[in-house]
Structure formats: structure tokens, C-alpha cells
């Protein structure tokens, strides 16, 4: 099959000479034109700010204040999202829960992105024994019983946010690595890569300037799909004792606790669920916007 020369503009010497800043500023310009992406970004900033400032917001009640006699009441003017079974204000718990969940979602996803993309790209590009070894490491990590990994983390280290991230980071990048490697395997023999190589670009430059940008579509999609997975995984870790410590809560623990009383007190799953889904939706639109903005092809068309 005949392949035309080099779709990405980045291969052209002229672009090569350009500082990368122009690529990013171009992308930024295009992103700003995407209304959904901007709205989503604004929503994410707002909800993050809201979660971060939750302890100081005057209209929020104390999320740990119990009123045992008035447990599990439906939404009312006094409690907008109702109360949980110990009589705590669900609105306040959702607001506070957002802090840990957003943080976990972002950090977990970031780890997945950085380690997963690098690992997968290097394995796919270098190939041979290196690829073999790196992918077997991924297989090993996939196969180890996660529950023991977490228990051991708890045994040997004290509970902390760092350990939570370590526990999330241990597994979240594995699928990403496999996806990126698959893409790179297909890209590395393409003509634009060979052209870049012929022009004397070093391996890291080829990888991160030429190959990785071309995997961005699947990468960004998978990244946005990782966010809810990480948030829910945190609920599982909390279950094992790592993660949020009661009486604090996260969206993940709120949703998984609420699911158990779905038919009785649906507000306990609907509101945290909505908060999570809206955030996820915003991440997705932002992700799609980013993808379009960073798309080398789109860039050329835009020029």
C-alpha cells in the first residue's frame, strides 16, 4: 500500500526549527475556540475550587455532624441532598468528598498517563528483548493479586495519601502501556518516522516529538476513561483501610455505600453519582477538545 509522505507537519524541517511553544500555543488557541471544552474546563475549575474551599464555605454544614434520630431523610430545604443513615448532611459530604476524589482521579490518571505512555512507547519503539522484558513486567503486575499488594502496603507503611497514590499507581498504568505500545508498533515503521530518523533525530526526539503525538487520540480517550475507574478504585481501597478514613468520605465510598441502599434511600447514590458523572463528562469533553487541539492533522488543516 502506498503511503504519502509524512502527515504530521512536525516532520518538516521548518517546524523542527520552531520551538515547541508554537505547537502548544496553537493548540491553546484552538482549544479556546471549542465551546464545550471551555465550558467543561470552567466547570472543572469551579468544582475543584468548590471542593477545595468546602471547609470554609458558610452554607455548608459540618459533614461529620451526626443527628442519629434524624437519619436517612430525603432532600429538604434544610438538607438539599438529604441526610445519610447517621443523619449527616449529604450535600456537605458530597462537597467534601470531591476533594479526595478529584485529587485521586487526577493523580491516578496522571500516573497512568506518564508511566503508561512512556513505558508503552519505549517498549513498542525499541522492540526486541527490551519490549519483551517490559511487557512481561506488565504481565506480572497484572497478575499479582492486588488485594495482597494493598494489604502489604498497609503492613509496611503507615496509612497516608502517598500510599494511596502508590496503590493506585501500581496498576493504573498497565492497560495504557499496552495500548500505547500497540499504537507505536504500528507507527514506528511509517515513513514519517523513517524520515525523521534520516534527518538525524535522536530516539527520544523521535519518540516524544513524532510518535507519541500520533497516539494521542486513543491515549486521551483512555485517560478520560481512567478517571472514573480510579475514583471507584479508591472506594475499594478505602474498604481495605487505605484511602479515606471515616468519618470522612469520598465520592467513591459514597456511591458504593449508597448502592447498597439504592431502593430505600436513592438520594444517597444519586447525588454523589451525579457529581461523579458530571465531572467525568467534563473530563471527557475537555479530553476530546484537547485531542482535537493537539491533533497534528487538524493543525495542518487549520493552518
Amino acid at each position: 500500500m502506498s503511503i504519502g509522505i509524512a502527515p504530521p507537519a512536525t516532520v518538516l524541517p521548518a517546524t523542527h526549527a520552531n520551538p515547541p511553544r508554537s505547537l502548544w500555543s496553537d493548540a491553546w488557541k484552538r482549544l479556546r475556540r471549542n465551546r464545550m471544552a471551555v465550558a467543561s474546563g470552567a466547570f472543572l475549575v469551579l468544582i475543584s475550587l468548590f471542593a477545595l474551599t468546602a471547609p470554609w464555605l458558610p452554607f455548608l454544614q459540618d459533614p461529620t455532624l451526626q443527628d442519629l434520630a434524624r437519619g436517612a431523610t430525603p432532600p429538604s430545604p434544610a438538607h438539599w441532598f438529604g441526610t445519610d443513615e447517621l443523619g449527616r448532611d449529604t450535600f456537605a459530604r458530597v462537597a467534601h468528598g470531591g476533594r479526595i476524589s478529584m485529587l485521586v482521579g487526577l493523580v491516578g490518571t496522571f500516573v497512568s498517563l506518564v508511566i503508561g505512555v512512556t513505558w508503552g512507547a519505549v517498549a513498542g519503539y525499541v522492540g526486541g528483548k527490551v519490549d519483551e522484558f517490559m511487557m512481561r513486567v506488565v504481565d506480572v503486575l497484572y497478575s499479582l493479586p492486588y488485594i495482597f499488594l494493598v494489604i502489604l502496603l498497609l503492613v509496611f507503611f503507615s496509612k497516608s495519601l502517598l500510599m494511596l497514590f502508590v496503590a493506585l499507581g501500581l496498576v493504573q498504568w498497565l492497560t495504557m502501556a499496552r495500548i500505547v505500545r500497540g499504537q507505536v508498533l504500528s507507527l514506528r515503521t511509517q515513513t514519517f518516522v523513517e524520515a525523521a530518523r534520516a534527518l538525524g533525530a535522536g530516539t527520544p526526539a523521535i519518540l516524544f516529538r513524532h510518535i507519541v503525538p500520533n497516539t494521542l487520540g486513543p491515549v486521551i480517550v483512555f485517560t478520560t476513561l481512567t478517571v472514573p475507574a480510579v475514583i471507584l478504585q479508591e472506594a475499594f481501597l478505602s474498604f481495605l483501610g487505605l484511602g479515606v478514613q471515616p468519618p470522612a468520605a469520598s465520592w467513591g465510598t459514597l456511591v458504593s455505600d449508597g448502592a447498597k441502599v439504592l431502593a430505600l434511600f436513592p438520594w444517597l447514590v444519586i447525588f454523589p453519582g451525579f457529581a461523579m458523572s458530571l465531572t467525568l463528562l467534563a473530563f471527557n469533553f475537555l479530553g476530546d477538545g484537547l485531542r482535537d487541539a493537539l491533533d497534528p492533522q487538524g493543525r495542518r488543516d487549520g493552518n
Binding site: Y142, R178, G182, G217, S277, N284, R291
Partner: protein, 305 residues
């Protein structure tokens, strides 16, 4: 190809050894041991139990025994279910999990790939938005919420389908659906992304320029490459889906393999955990090998060395 295959198959042995060894020692490091319970067991009984399972021997010797037995695909009896061999538990459970997972996998591919293709072909138009909204709903409703909702609607309100158990074809529907939905979403999203990358490539333009119908271009030329991310994702995903979902098996009371890892881990049932982990690992690696072979088939430029 033959040499590639045989090398990869051979490589599975050291990988399995690493996995088995790490799991073996991780379990020993975790607090608590087998045969602990809320009610105390007399010391003499405990000693006897440990002796019966060779747990009173030095750790190195236990490890050696484990390696020797594992090499013979023999993990011995389960500690928690002593009248059963680990091998029997795994095979019985796997039959069920594989059926459940197989249906779910088939369903998610049959739904996910077409949805993704339609979305990509209609990028930024109504079908695209509709398909992606659907996919997003699929990922953001975790299966431990979806399963109960399905049961509430179809079993306890409409009384159409049984709420649980694994007996006739009618008991398959809800669990397969609950298990498949999030995978449909992942596959649709990844297909769309992969297709979008490919559809813009020059060879597709060339194909179009040659006057091939859009249908042929999309299905014959673009799909093969566009589906690459899905194929990468499928290796681990298929392993997970076919080895059984703890959540779905629990909700629908399905006698699959998924729950045994957790049961084994909780009870420090060393033999059961090792058996399940090694079985899962072999399965995963076999699937990943298949995926790598699929790359060369889907994209002839990929060479496996």
C-alpha cells in the same frame, strides 16, 4: 513466526515463576495465616493442621514444594475447602466464568465496535454525540449500581427475569448485560478514537480517490487499523472479563471463578490463591500473545521480532 511463537511460549515459564514466587512471598508477609478464625482453635489442633499442609516446614522447603507441585499443575487441596483440590475448584468455576465472560465479551464487541465506527464516520454530528453520550453513561454507572438497578426493574418490578442464580438461559441475560455495559463503552470510545486517527491518514484518502465506496474504505481499510487500540485493550480486558467478575458473580449468585481470589486472600488459603493467580496469569499471557499476533495480521507493517 514459529520462532517468535515458541520463544514467547518459553518466556511464559520464567514469567510465571516470577509471578508465583512474588505471590508466594507476599502471602506469607501478609498478617494472619490460614486456619485463623473468630473462634480460637486449640494449639494442638493448629499444630496438626499446619503439619498436615506442610506449613510447619522451613519456608524455603515450602517454597520448593510449591515450585515442584506447580510444575506438575498440582496445587493440592484448598485450605478452606479441604475436600476439594484447587484444580477442581478452578476448573468448575472457570467453566461458568468463561461462559458468562464469553457472552459479555461478544456482546461488548458486537455493540461497541459498530457504535465506535458510526461515531467516527459521523464525527461531531448527531449520531456521534448520541453514541458517545451512551458510552459515557456506560462508564460512569459502575456495575455494582447497574446490576442492582437491572434486578430491581426486570426481576422485582416487571418479574420478567430471575433475580439471580445460574440455571436456564433466562438467568444469563441480566448478568451478561450488567457485565458488558462498561466494556461496550470502553470499546466504543477506543474504536472511535482509533478510527479517527486512521480515517485522516493519506492512504485512506488514496483509497477514496481511487473511487472505492465509502463502505469499503471504512470497513475494509480503515477498520483494520482503527481497531488497533481496541485490540491492545482486549488482551487484559478479555482476561479479566473471562476470569470472572467478583461483583457480578456476587450480585447474581453465579458459581464462577471470580470470588475465589478474594475468598482465598481473606482466608490466607495459600494453595487456592496461588492456583488462581497462576491460572489467571497463564490465561492473560496467552491472550496478550494472541493480541500481538493479531497486530501483524491487522497491520502488516508491524513486525514481531
Amino acid at each position: 513466526m514459529i520462532s517468535f511463537l515458541s520463544r514467547r511460549l518459553l518466556l511464559m515459564i520464567p514469567t510465571l515463576w516470577v509471578i508465583g514466587t512474588l505471590t508466594f512471598f507476599m502471602m506469607r508477609l501478609a498478617p494472619g495465616g490460614p486456619f485463623m478464625s473468630e473462634k480460637d482453635i486449640p494449639a494442638a489442633t493448629k499444630t496438626q493442621l499446619l503439619h498436615q499442609y506442610g506449613l510447619d516446614k522451613p519456608l524455603a522447603q515450602q517454597y520448593g514444594m510449591f515450585l515442584w507441585n506447580a510444575a506438575h499443575f498440582d496445587f493440592g487441596p484448598s485450605y478452606k475447602y479441604p475436600q476439594q483440590q484447587v484444580r477442581e475448584i478452578i476448573l468448575e468455576g472457570f467453566k461458568v466464568s468463561a461462559e458468562l465472560g464469553g457472552w459479555a465479551l461478544l456482546l461488548s464487541l458486537l455493540l461497541g465496535v459498530p457504535i465506535g465506527v458510526i461515531a467516527a464516520v459521523n464525527q461531531n454530528r448527531a449520531p456521534d454525540h448520541a453514541a458517545m453520550a451512551l458510552a459515557l453513561a456506560g462508564v460512569s454507572i459502575p456495575n455494582f449500581v447497574l446490576g442492582p438497578v437491572l434486578v430491581l426493574v426486570f426481576s422485582l418490578t416487571l418479574y420478567w427475569l430471575p433475580p439471580a442464580l445460574w440455571r436456564g438461559p433466562e438467568t444469563r441475560i441480566l448478568p451478561v448485560l450488567a457485565l458488558a455495559v462498561s466494556y461496550v463503552a470502553y470499546i466504543a470510545r477506543l474504536t472511535r478514537a482509533g478510527m479517527l486517527e486512521v480515517l485522516r491518514q493519506d492512504y485512506i484518502r488514496t483509497a477514496r480517490a481511487k473511487g472505492l465506496s465509502e463502505r469499503v474504505v471504512v470497513l475494509k481499510h480503515a477498520l483494520k487499523l482503527g481497531i488497533l487500540p481496541v485490540v491492545s485493550y482486549l488482551g487484559p480486558a478479555a482476561a479479566r472479563i473471562i476470569m470472572g467478575s467478583i461483583v457480578i458473580e456476587q450480585i447474581f449468585a453465579i458459581p464462577g471463578l471470580g470470588r475465589y481470589l478474594v475468598i482465598g486472600a481473606t482466608n490466607k488459603d495459600y494453595t487456592l490463591v496461588l492456583g488462581v493467580v497462576l491460572f489467571y496469569a497463564s490465561f492473560l499471557m496467552a491472550l496478550n500473545l494472541l493480541v500481538d499476533i493479531a497486530y501483524t495480521w491487522l497491520d502488516p507493517r508491524v513486525e514481531l521480532r
